[in-house]
Subunit: 162 residues, 2 copies
Amino acid sequence: MSVTDELLENNARYAETFSGPLPLPPAKHVAVLACMDARLDVYRALGLAEGEAHVIRNAGGVVTDDEIRSLAISQRLLGTREIVLVHHTDCGMLTFTDEDFRDGVEADTGVRPPWRSEAFADLEVDVKASVQRILDSPFVPVKDSVRGFVFDVATGRLTEVG
Amino acid sequence: MSVTDELLENNARYAETFSGPLPLPPAKHVAVLACMDARLDVYRALGLAEGEAHVIRNAGGVVTDDEIRSLAISQRLLGTREIVLVHHTDCGMLTFTDEDFRDGVEADTGVRPPWRSEAFADLEVDVKASVQRILDSPFVPVKDSVRGFVFDVATGRLTEVG
């Protein structure tokens, strides 16, 4: 059985006790932008229940045009007003350089990625840069609370960067 | 107290019983790409534990260059081999058009977004299009299991598209 089939079996059990639907707009009016890292269970780590927060995730928890798109939709159409950014210790993005990554892809596929890998060398510097990208964007209307954190994968604890 | 501060208090309680660190590569070698919708708790809905799967999320659960970037890093550097795409019923992306969204942003900010909103008119069509964007990308090396689903926010159940 594939992992995907195993997850579908898990979902059938989840649905047995599921109670819905909840309203579409996030009840806590917050959007979380976090790394895709498997060890970061955003709902549990932040004590979120279903229906409370938008959760945007990607490799690194970085801010590219696509995260600005998601945040713009989140705020403009669904009323979120706070943004919580989460990077984490022991991140894969600290283990390579953009040049190496694109060289490797080009060597394997014959095509050089037209996008940057967004690899970074320092967690706190990248959290600050990610916050700044949001503050600098004309497309995210509400910027009163844009705060960045590092999640420690050893302790489960968030530390604010700022 | 802001919602962000409330989530930090929740995190302090979470950390009290947290046990880490787990290994960096996802134990189940799977990457999930899902909508940011607040009602979709990916870990619970798929029965995932911390450390098992990469979770990539954005408005719609769509596939743009940034999701290809995350999937390429997930597979090339961290060994995932299956991809699970999840859209859901009652999605905000079904409620507007790309033209309307960009017109609205331009009217409010004076700047037209250089990116598409990725709004869609039909869930199943967009799931298939998202799967196809992955299959068409030269940067995602492992495509043996790229499967798309719709999560029903009323029942909690996943239905496969395809």
